[in-house]
């Protein structure tokens, strides 16, 4: 196991940023830590890096204890690499010098390694060979990002930490860099911990996602598990943007509050949600109809998206977000009925293998 986190807690004065969380990270895994701002994800990353010390609990990296209540091993003595949100390129060093820096200073870099050869390799992986002599001010956003990546992977650290590395790039570049980060993961087989607030980034790249909220881990699982089978209300609404429908749970079906004649089948709703008498329905799991089947409501907003249409439907007790196919056009103010789509089937996730590429 590359990293083991045990009952990790971090307080800043009275504020408890991390509430005794535990997590095991396997060798070569790509872990995304997903959550809204202030959920503790950056704190967790900074504790892993060694920029902060834990208030309680412990951190092990590659079998060595690097942090506990009493001592914190500083970042330069940990076998890690890190990509910063702001890139943190040094304006007075060129691309090659950025990659050389950790090769010279990193304590875990192989001392017998041919530094020039490794620089060439890294430049090759990051596709920066032709920019080797450029200064940071002469690079585009994507190129800066690659330099930051190259610097982090150069010494081949056991653990690669990424702090929202794509949030400073524009939408199109983000998509491209996702592919490149996946490729680097495949090539280097490094263990990656990737912090993000963007659920689509996490779903697209990670082997496992750790969803965090208010200093706690809400759920850990593969992207499919997190998306299709959220354990908590927070995961359902943050990751899947699900509508949390109120009603009553019976043995194996759900009765929505406003339409007791309906019986929705259990597609794998978690015990916690059942206890709270909630059925999480993602916008694409809902059908809109003009016949009197379902729960009556009025359309309060229509957003045309090209490949689909997003509606907001106000029913008597809550508002629903519904995504429909493009051919299903309704007007603003129109009375409709909302209903769970019928053709859903339960996915068997238990047998699903972890796929990383």
């Amino acid at each position: 196991m590359t990293a083991v986190i045990k009952e990790l807690q971090k307080r800043f004065g009275k504020f408890e940023a991390l509430k005794k969380i535990s997590l095991d990270i396997e060798n070569g895994e790509f872990i995304a830590i997903l959550g809204p701002s202030g959920c503790g994800k950056t704190t967790l990353l900074r504790l892993l890096a060694g920029f902060d010390s834990p208030t309680y609990g412990s951190i092990h990296i590659s079998g060595t204890e690097v942090g506990n209540i009493n001592t914190t091993l500083p970042p330069e003595k940990r076998n890690i690499g890190m990509v910063f949100q702001s890139f943190a390129l040094w304006p007075h060093l060129n691309v090659k010098e950025h990659i050389k820096f950790p090769l010279v200073h990193h304590r875990f870099a192989d001392k017998k390694m041919d530094i020039n050869k490794r620089i060439k390799e890294v430049l090759d992986i990051t596709e920066l060979t032709s920019f080797a002599e450029r200064m940071p001010s002469e690079l585009s956003g994507g190129q800066k990002q690659r330099v930051a990546l190259g610097r982090a992977i150069a010494p081949q650290p056991d653990l690669l930490l990424m702090d929202e590395p794509l949030s400073n790039l524009d939408a199109e570049l983000r998509m491209e860099m996702r592919r490149e980060i996946q490729q680097i993961h495949r090539l280097t087989k490094a263990t990656i911990i990737y912090v993000t607030h963007d659920q689509s980034e996490a779903l697209a790249m990670a082997d496992r996602i750790v969803v965090m909220n208010q200093g706690r881990i809400e759920q850990v699982g593969t992207p499919r598990e997190i998306y299709s089978y959220p354990k908590t209300e927070f995961v359902a609404s943050f990751v899947g943007k699900a509508n949390l429908i109120k009603g009553t749970w019976h043995e194996n079906y759900f009765e929505p509050e406003l339409a007791s004649n309906l019986k929705w089948t259990d597609l794998g709703v978690s015990e916690e949600l059942k206890k709270r008498n909630i059925y999480p329905l993602r916008p694409e799991q809902i059908a809109l109809t003009n016949d009197n089947e379902g729960i009556p409501g009025i359309i309060t907003s229509v957003q045309y998206q090209g490949k689909e249409i997003h509606y907001t439907v106000q029913t008597q007790n809550q508002s629903w977000v519904v995504h429909t196919e493009i051919w299903q056009a309704f007007q603003l103010g129109e009375s409709v009925h909302v209903q769970m789509k019928q053709e859903q089937a339960k996915l068997e996730v238990k047998e699903e293998k972890i796929v990383s590429y």
Partner: protein
């Protein structure tokens, strides 16, 4: 889309950096002790002395000083001079700032150099230049002699003269603060007001002025303080005319060495110091208020187009710059070349013998140059090390303790020079009562005084430099395996250097030409450049003082040229922030 996620970075004390400060407690206590000893104790001793008579607490000094009619004349002079000169500084500074910030004038960069020139040249040298320009045989009289009607000679050795030279010397302060505030007001705010239906005048009144006022007023207070604090100008112009202001009056008390001289001087100093600190406090409040718009960047594109009036305004401005910045210096240069004071400036009267005297014959001038350069160099080097270390600690680990430390370090600079000089005498004549190690009376006291007074300049320069280097730059170095010396050598020093050096240049220049503090603390063999020029002028050797001053002006200009060249090469290396 740019995600603006607040990270915990700002509020998290960076624990790892503390590895630099092992045995933190000991260092903290040493730091507190040093700051107390160098920055606070002298001021305490000064205040204590003013409340002391026959070794016991008493208000007698205050009653006798305030009952003396001379004191009230001095205070009245001070008020008139400070108000008058501040009015000149503020009106000149704001007008120029508005023109440079908002209109489409050409050659603004060159203008800026001329605007800053009176500020860079020590005020006593400008005064000398003005007296040569307006003097009986000066360029001004030769110019007006060409007029068909008689023009009365202008007597600079008067209240009006002092007000005039002070006002012209300190308007750059108002200009510098106002111009940056004006540029930082987003033009969209004015446009929004116009679109909402307000006229150009209403917009100026209701949007521009309220936003610019704190910054402009803060510049005004800075000029007020500079005018209150200045010693060179009232000393050169006021002492011969028997006009005293608080700063020169305190000086005269100290050098007069009467039986109660020190007690009276201390009392007057406390009065002057309280006025100055009050002014500093108001200025600080105003500056804090004006920082509300500081998130925006400076917008240097013109907002008002002058049209046909442009050429006329430009000619007027350049005449003003020539007349106030260049011509007086040229007059001074001309005097310095005369073989004897008072003769006409003709070819046969030109000689370099004054320069020969200053550079060769007179041992005093040479000694003073060596002293000043030594003092300035040592102050600068120690300033760079101590000031940058403190600035780094202050920014990376901000806490109440180092905030108070910064205020304490700034105190000797906020106090008028005469007050500060006097407090140095009290603190170091007998560091432990009854024990006089001879610090006062040697060059060491000047060195201590310079370092105490000017350290804040380096601290501020270095603070700006440290703030421009994001913490993540350091963290990236740490993750790459480097902390301690290699991080400083390879990452921090190269990034901090330009900012630190510009602060150091200011410290060097200010120390090199310092007069106020030195005039109180010098002793034979420890004269400085300022003291020697002041001495020549008081003894009536105007040709020597002008020659020495011209030399210093030449050196300052040379220094700036070197600085510009260095900056040019530095920028060419592509060191702009990525």
């Amino acid at each position: 889309m740019k995600a603006n996620i607040p990270t915990d970075r700002e509020i998290v004390p960076n624990q790892v950096l503390s590895s630099l400060f092992t045995n933190k407690r000991i260092w903290t206590w040493i730091g507190i002790a040093l700051i107390f000893l160098f920055f606070l104790l002298p001021i305490y001793r000064l205040v204590a002395l003013s409340f002391q008579q026959n070794d016991s607490f008493s208000l007698a000094n205050y009653t006798s000083v305030l009952q003396d009619a001379t004191t009230w004349t001095v205070i009245q002079n001070t008020i008139v001079i400070v108000i008058g000169s501040t009015a000149i500084s503020v009106s000149l500074g704001i007008s120029l700032a508005w023109l440079v910030a908002y209109t489409d004038l050409r050659a603004k960069k060159l203008m800026q150099i001329f605007i800053i020139l009176p500020f860079v040249i020590p005020s006593y040298i400008s005064t000398l230049a003005w007296t040569q320009f307006l003097g009986a045989n000066g360029l001004f009289q030769q110019l007006v002699a060409l007029f068909p009607f008689p023009v009365p000679a202008i007597n600079l050795y008067s209240l009006v003269g002092i007000i005039f030279v002070l006002g012209l010397s300190h308007y750059p302060l108002v200009y510098l603060l106002s111009v940056s505030v004006l540029r930082k007001i987003p033009r969209e705010l004015e446009q929004a007001s116009r679109v909402s239906g307000a006229s150009r005048w209403t917009t100026f009144r209701k949007v521009t002025i309220p936003l610019a006022l704190p910054g402009i007023a803060s510049g005004g207070f800075l000029a007020f303080l500079a005018n209150l604090d200045n010693f060179g100008i009232p000393a050169f112009l006021g002492i011969p005319a028997n006009i005293s202001v608080l700063s020169t009056y305190i000086y005269q008390q100290v050098v007069g060495f009467g039986p109660t001289a020190f007690a009276t001087a201390a009392t007057l100093s406390v009065i002057l110091g309280v006025i100055a600190l009050l002014g500093t406090f108001i200025q600080w409040l105003l500056l804090r208020k004006s920082k509300r718009i500081e998130t925006t960047i400076e917008d240097k594109q013109p907002r008002y187009f002058l049209g046909k009036k442009k050429l006329f305004i430009e000619i007027a401005l350049w005449c003003f710059f020539l007349l106030t910045s260049i011509v007086p210096l040229v007059s001074m240069g001309m005097t310095s070349l005369l073989s004897a004071y008072g003769v006409d400036f003709t070819l046969e009267n030109i000689s370099l013998k004054n320069y020969q005297f200053v550079l060769d014959t007179s041992p005093k001038a040479k000694q003073a140059m060596v002293n000043s350069v030594k003092l300035a160099l040592i102050t600068t080097v120690i300033g760079i090390l101590v000031g940058t270390a403190f600035a780094y600690y202050r920014i990376r680990k901000p806490n109440h303790l180092n905030k108070w430390a910064e205020i304490s370090i700034g105190l000797p600079y906020a106090l008028p020079g005469t007050v500060m000089g006097l407090s140095m005498i009290f603190a170091w004549m007998e560091p432990i009562p009854g024990w006089n190690p001879g610090i006062y009376g040697s060059v060491i006291i000047l060195f201590i005084a310079y370092l105490t007074r000017f350290l804040i300049l380096q601290v501020r320069g270095s603070i700006t430099a440290v703030m421009q280097v994001d913490v993540s730059m350091e963290e990236a170095a740490q993750v790459s395996g480097s902390n301690g010396w290699s991080k400083w050598r390879k990452i921090l020093i190269p990034l901090l250097l330009p900012g630190v050096l510009s602060g150091a240049f200011l410290v060097f220049l200010t120390s090199l030409t310092e007069l106020t503090v030195s005039s109180l603390l010098w002793s034979s063999n420890s004269e400085t450049i300022g003291v020697v020029i002041f001495g020549y002028e008081q003894a009536g050797y105007s040709t020597y003082s002008t020659a020495f001053s011209s030399l210093i002006v030449g050196l300052i200009i040379l220094g700036f040229i070197v600085l510009y060249i260095l900056e040019y090469f530095w920028n060419r290396k592509g060191l702009k922030q990525a």
